[in-house]
Symmetry: C2
């Protein structure tokens, strides 16, 4: 039983570092998203679309999590105010970002200038669901070519998300994906979730996503402005 005990210790330690990260982010009013999906579902494309729409209104930074390479950081670096790359390959938890990695990355970021921090997690529908990072909202992207059964097969990540983006809607004519079936599965796991349909390739649906996001940031700042009791 020793193994399970250690796994719990890792998760507990992670929770307390995540809480510390969130305190630091709140101090600087940096609203933070943890963006999760399968490999290739469109995390980087969503980040690029979001920056393009909102960079005139908000200071936006990105933390890129990958097992290896700086492919995504290269794509993002000319668009975001700041980018930090984390490679998890040689770390004990290589299948997810964990709060301790974010704690290090936050030291490299001028948080006082950052209104919105987008954390791109490692491409994985399993491990990231277990590790809080200090984020304010959890976003899952599910793309049409993956099939509409993903919520049934990977329920934990959908049950814990605040919003799900159904991406690559431009491929709808060419793949077997029933959007109502997918919506029903997600809402069955998580009745309060927000669902968006989008194509990060064509830009369809991005406006609706960004307007929800702006509303969330506004609500967050209003709350932050209230004096603490």
């Amino acid at each position: 039983m020793k193994k399970i005990e250690v796994v719990q210790n890792i998760l507990e330690a992670n929770e307390s570092i995540a809480a510390r990260n969130q305190e630091l982010l709140d101090k600087h009013k940096t609203f933070t998203l943890n963006i999760m999906s399968s490999p290739g579902a469109g995390k980087t494309s969503l980040i690029l679309q979001t920056i393009a729409r909102l960079k005139d209104r908000l200071g936006i930074a990105v933390i890129e999590g990958d097992v290896a390479s700086t492919v995504d950081a290269e794509k993002v670096k000319d668009e975001a105010m700041e980018v930090v790359q984390i490679n998890t390959r040689n770390m004990p938890e290589s299948c997810s970002l964990i709060a301790a990695m974010i704690e290090l990355a936050l030291k490299d970021l001028p948080l006082e200038k950052i209104d919105l921090l987008l954390i791109e997690n490692v491409g994985n529908l399993i491990c990231p669901a277990e590790f809080a990072l200090g984020e304010h909202k959890r976003i899952v992207i599910s793309s049409l070519p993956e099939g509409d059964d993903k919520p049934v097969k990977y329920p934990v990540i959908f049950a814990g998300a605040d919003a799900v983006i159904i991406n690559k809607t431009d491929l709808l004519p060419y793949v077997d994906f029933d959007i109502p079936t997918f919506r029903r599965s997600v809402e069955g796991l998580n009745p309060d979730i927000r669902l968006f349909e989008a194509s990060c390739k064509t830009g369809a649906g991005i406006e609706s996503w960004c307007s929800w996001l702006l509303g969330e940031i506004k609500g967050y700042n209003r709350k932050a402005a209230r004096p603490r009791r």
Copy 2:
């Protein structure tokens, strides 16, 4: 440093159970594939195509690994001789099948009748690369909508594979995926790898995959027939 020590112990214990699984499989001449990919890349579809082509010539069984649900086992159960479902959700390693799970599943299978065992791993490009199951060959499926940069971002799984199937070639006109770039990346990590282009939807390329597989099974049985020194 305790954490890392335990991780190593898990991996060592796994290797020795995997070796025991392989001995049992060899005793019954059951050639075994570990099939790995991102969620929704086409593991179940490849299994169904492979069974359809080879079931008149071989006894074929399937072990289905999923975090939750029996969606895939349901799809396969009328086609394969035997199917065993493993749900990893409440197990210490939920992000990959591990050798101990396969050891249990093998007890439910009539190995003496099974020439080919197809193990469908959990949809994940990271964790399964670390855990041997006792398989004879490791297969990775990479589908076009995921993008051609996956070998660069998840190198370990490609470096350890015996064959890679580039799936969903029917979507080539609609997605950005450069097959030569992908091939170069994979061959850079793993010069001896076999690469197949296929569409499990249309059946294109499946014949070439199955004829390679039959050749491997023949070679395996020839080797098994030789007296041990």
